[in-house]
Symmetry: C2
Subunit: 247 residues, 2 copies
DNA sequence: GTCACCGGGTGGCTGAGCCACTCAGGGAGT
DNA sequence: ACTCCCTGAGTGGCTCAGCCACCCGGTGAC
């Protein structure tokens, strides 16, 4: 048995990766046509069918736009791409991370404020539960996931499902690289303590307080994460085994 | 030549649609395994290869999670799905639209505030340009697209690219059904006039004013849109030809 | 000059088939 | 009895060769 226990990437996964890198790296420039599928497939040493699977994913991701009889065009993702591109952008360039965190802070504050107004009693109870789960987490990784659960619950408490999806999107963007961002959660009890004021304010129904508590919490967490990122090294690489955490 | 000039949906598109409807409609419940691919393909009357293309898209969208040797599982999209699901949710159920608008209002205000602080002179000039384009738009549809361009430019002016992607996501969510939401843009000059205070405040660098102007503008537009939606009928149906507007 | 046609190039889709993975059950060894 | 390995059935992953549908530019008939 090889030392690599994990890893497990399918051919299509690898192919998708390479194509994406070639696109984001500038080998294929936006606006231009990609080489014909038959040619591309030959170049990468795969069947056209397999190549099409990869292309199809990138098309859905918004990086490509193919038209029957014409060809496949590289799109300007900043112009038309959606937030679903963030996960792959974050793994490529840690500059995106700081921008993601900033938005997360703004939106997190918005969510906390709104949750304080709208949360139901049922949701208040659930909030305390998931906060407890953070404190009881066995290690940093578990704490981080439990923390995400708290934020999901806060989003749920706004009564607006779009906030929940948005929260998921932002998490999907940085959870794949969370290995490098574990710093704030090394001590689960401490992490829970930092998060507690936010939950408390929401449970008490105090929007102003919830907003500023969230702002403060997110800023602190953000700083810890980015600080832990800076000295050691970049966050890129192949942190992308699991396509998505299971449901 | 058949009377249907437009429409042009590929087999995979249709298949994706049907599968998605079957999932969101409850034929395939979250957590359960889908029937085997061979069986499914036979059921829908397509090849397994074609089916896999459709499944692959839904998997990437976060609705499915497939594992080699095990099967394909339906996921709980509210738990793990991202904002990229919004376009398809909005076309299925207009209840999502009101939630999307609310979030757009909150985030739009956030963006305006931040743009007022961060915009460069170059971006200020470009903002005036695209605002002019709204006033000069030939019809309601063009005005609506020009309006979207203004908001994209505002997002760009925040200096945070994540806001740009987020804006794209929200637009992608409701532009497909924009035919039913044309009301605020029937008179392009008027639409531009309503939008002008936001642009002005951002150009002048007044965050407070920009925020409240954006809030006010978005609320007004939102009300007009939803009002035009209510009496006539639902917004669902097959407004989804183009996979995405071209880049 | 205009227009219909056609051919080459492109992506869309098919069908059959083999490979790789997972799991459960049964039989050999202890 | 118990343990462990093997095996077979069922599933998704991937390939291959090929035909179909579409778009465009050129060419020849009118």
């Amino acid at each position: 048995m090889p030392p690599e226990i994990i890893a497990r990437q399918s051919v299509v996964d690898v192919l998708e990766h390479r194509l994406r890198d070639d696109i984001l790296g500038g080998t294929h420039v936006p606006g231009e046509l990609l080489p014909p599928e038959r040619e591309l497939a030959a170049g990468y040493g795969v069947t056209r069918t397999t190549l099409k699977h990869a292309l199809s994913r990138l098309e859905q991701a918004g990086l490509l736009s193919t038209r029957h009889g014409i060809g496949t065009r590289v799109r300007d993702f900043l112009r038309v791409g959606g937030a679903d591109l963030l996960p792959m952008l974050a793994t490529r360039d840690s500059g995106w991370l700081t921008e993601i965190f900033e938005v997360r802070r703004h939106i997190g504050a918005l969510i906390a404020r709104r949750a304080a107004v709208r949360r139901t009693d049922r949701q208040a109870a659930r909030l305390r539960e998931v906060l407890d789960a953070v404190a009881r987490a066995g290690d940093g990784d578990a704490a981080q996931l439990a923390d995400a659960e708290v934020h999901r619950e806060l989003a749920r408490a706004t009564g607006n499902r779009v906030y929940l999806l948005l929260t998921n999107t932002l998490f999907n963007a940085y959870l794949p690289v969370r290995g490098a961002l574990r710093a704030p959660f090394e001590d689960p009890a401490e992490a829970a303590a930092r998060l507690a004021p936010v939950v408390q304010a929401v449970v008490d129904g105090l929007p102003e307080q919830a907003e500023s508590a969230a702002e403060q919490y997110l800023r602190a967490t953000e700083e810890l994460m980015l600080a832990s990122l800076r000295p050691s090294g970049r966050a890129d690489g192949d942190h992308e085994r699991e396509r998505r955490h299971d449901g």
